[in-house]
Amino acid sequence: MTSTVSDPRAPVPSRTGATGPASGKGKGKGKGKGSGSGSPRAKRSVAHRIFGRQPLGLLFSSPYLLFVLAVFAFPIVYSVWISFHDFFFAAPGANPDRPFVGLDNYVAAFSNPAVIRSFGNVGIFLLINVPLTVVLSLLLASALNKVVHARTFLRVSFYVPYVTASVAVVAVWLFLFNGNGLVNSILGPLAPSPSWLINENLAMPVIAIYVTWKQLGFYILLYLAALQNVPKELYESAATDGAGRIRQFFSVTVPGVRPATLLVLLVSTVTGANLFTEPYLLTGGGGPNGASASPVLLMYQLGIQQGQPDVASAIGVVLVIGVLIIAFIQNRLVGERDS
């Protein structure tokens, strides 16, 4: 399937044209100067490598770069440092000893069954949430794209849960899913026992569905934007070839929005891995029996409430690595492959 898409876009050019429009002027010039000139060229390329082709660009991007360094890079490096030391938050003048402890914090974190369980929980969450998010948001976006009437109304309706604070929406879901809530009233004798949010097997799936529903509007918007870039001609030629609606969806729409799919996958995985508010509020602190505790909830309990930011950092570092691995796999499976 992937080859059918990339074929028409990338007709194999003749060898002589290989430098083409994409390979940039600078590189062409550099090549023209010849390769035997030795040190001056090396010097230039070092400066070139650090400051790029447009050194001024660095100046323009520096405010944002500083922002990223201050609020993202510094904390992440600091937390890696914390995770290898005996660390707790202290008053500025206190200066406690913070010896290097190697992997002690990691051992402490992962010899705690609750931590292992929380990673399992978030795994269950991602298995339900991410595929459901991709499928539902793509389907709804395609449908919305075809809708003529009440388009804005529908888009806003899907978007409203996303912009509403989780704290507020959680209350609504509590009324829906608690023991004598609306859902159980409708189900009557079919209602699960124990009820949804205090059932060890159902608490995490309910949270996963809740988050899917809440975030859907955002991903629908991503897909809607992507759908505008799928050329109409492709649908026309597919129709000419006798493809029905379903065939068109799978052969034109799905491959056509693949970059958006990758984005949706990555973003929903990252937000899902950072699950906190829902187990904190919807299931009263990761209940029942830790069945809905997420790694971030435990990081909060350990790092903020229990004064062990070092162990919490260790969990955080493992979580980041885990998410990076999943993202890498997703990128490999779904992302565009560079030749």
């Binding site: 890079a73 008053a91 200066n95 029942p288 029996n289 903020i304 409430q305 004064g307």
Partner: protein
């Protein structure tokens, strides 16, 4: 082209990360020598204090600040509510780390004091000449529970909310029970009464303590009853958990029976179950008297295995204390304000305004007029002298969370043996209690 630009940006990123790491490490290793006046306990001048944001405490706090400022124009207090956050303890913890904690916080949870002390955030009140003596004269024997392992006071025991059972008289009458003499003193009676209430359909549940997993919820189910069953034994004594015995098991089994028989709800209730008539009883302190204004309620001490004279029943304190924070510049003023705010006069005003019990010995006799005029509060005044506090030390929250997790499993959700679960968690808590 694309790959080379990716490589380049990766290199730039690596350089940047290395630079940031350097800054981070330097920041960690450097920065010695805090405020110059850190050890000075006599400095005077303006100070800032934080108080709780509930209406009645706010009213008292403002009144106290005004009274002080009128007499001490050169040492003015700036009072403000504790900034909003998930909990006061987190806000205070963050302020300690940032170095901008106020001088006094009139809402310091005893469960957090050990951590604040470890963080270097609190001043040892015993270092003031009259520190320990003032605290012990005011609070009596109960003060000892608020010392750290070395016998020092890093908190001033301020006020308590001794936990008792509130019951809804109307619902009891509707279920055919005597609303003036409810049978709630023994476990058997309590369960029988609960059963009558639920069977009669007057409320979905007899009692509804929060069944959620937060560490502090154990203060409102296990702790009061364990204190009552043992005549005031704390959870941890001499570094060892005390509760993995017959008494502890009996308390846990009592609650498990309530959950098993659906007399207590396993699911958190949105709102206040007692106020909404979802539960016929509540396990709360005197702060609730003004909150449950619309409910026709009575109060009795928490139940014990065998009937105990109410005059001998112990319970959990639900105390909030005052901490003097090390970031404070004018510690001399702060200490004087602390004494002023906990003077007999101000304690009386606090009692009148909030209905909470100052941690002051002989409360019923000192404020005899108040209790004569407010009989609803009388039992609390007497009960306030028999309260147990959470264990001290830097790992309190960890200990309580470990207990709560075990409790949630074996008591609320009825998995496994209650006694075994207490034994297991006691072993874990023994370890935690000795960790620095």
């Amino acid at each position: 082209m694309q790959t080379s630009s990716v490589k380049r940006s990766k290199r730039v990123l690596a350089v940047a990360l290395a630079a940031v790491a350097g800054i981070g490490l330097a920041a960690c290793s450097g920065g010695s020598g805090g405020g110059g006046a850190a050890g000075d306990l006599t400095a005077t001048g303006p100070i800032t204090i934080w108080y709780s944001n509930n209406a009645t405490e706010l009213e008292w706090g403002k009144q106290m600040v005004e009274a002080w400022n009128a007499e001490n124009p050169d040492q003015k207090i700036t009072g403000q509510e504790i900034p909003a956050g998930k909990s006061s303890e987190e806000v205070i913890g963050a302020a300690i780390t940032a170095g901008n904690a106020p001088c006094l916080v009139f809402n310091t949870a005893p469960s957090a004091v050990g951590q604040f002390e470890k963080q270097g955030g609190l001043v040892n009140l015993s270092d003031f000449d009259d520190g320990a003596s003032y605290i012990e004269e005011r609070s009596g024997d109960i003060a000892k529970q608020y010392q750290n392992a070395d016998g020092d006071y890093f908190q001033l025991p301020w006020k308590s909310n001794p936990v008792v059972i509130f019951y809804n008289k109307d619902l009891f009458a509707a279920a055919g029970l005597d609303p003036e003499n409810p049978k709630l003193s023994t476990y058997d009676d309590f369960i029988a009464t609960s059963k009558t209430l639920v069977d009669a359909g007057v409320a979905p549940f007899a009692i509804q303590p929060a069944p959620t997993s937060e560490f502090f919820q154990m203060q409102f189910d296990f702790m009061p009853l364990y204190a009552a069953a043992t005549g005031g034994t704390p959870l941890i004594e001499d570094g060892k958990a005390t509760f993995a015995d017959d008494k502890g098991t009996e308390v846990a089994q009592f609650w498990r029976d309530l959950y098993d028989q659906k007399l207590a709800g396993q699911e958190q209730y949105q709102g206040d179950a007692f106020a909404d008539g979802q539960a016929a009883m509540a396990i709360v302190g005197p702060w609730a008297i003004s909150v449950y204004d619309g409910v026709n309620f009575g109060s009795v001490p928490v139940p014990t295995p065998e009937a105990t004279d109410p005059k001998d029943v112990w319970t959990f304190s639900d105390a909030k204390n005052v901490g003097l924070f090390s970031a404070c510049e004018n510690k001399g003023t702060a200490w004087n304000v602390l004494k002023f705010a906990t003077s007999e006069d101000q304690d009386g005003k606090f009692l009148e305004t909030t209905g909470q019990m100052p941690l002051r010995q002989d409360l019923p006799t000192v404020y005899a007029d108040y209790f004569a005029a407010n009989p609803a509060y009388q039992a609390f005044g007497d009960q306030a002298s028999r309260t147990v506090e959470v264990p001290g030390g830097p790992n309190t929250v960890q200990i309580m969370q470990a207990f709560r997790d075990a409790w949630s499993k074996s008591v609320i959700f009825g998995e496994g043996d209650v006694g075994q679960s207490l034994t297991d968690v006691a072993t874990k808590i023994d370890q935690l209690a000795t960790q620095p």
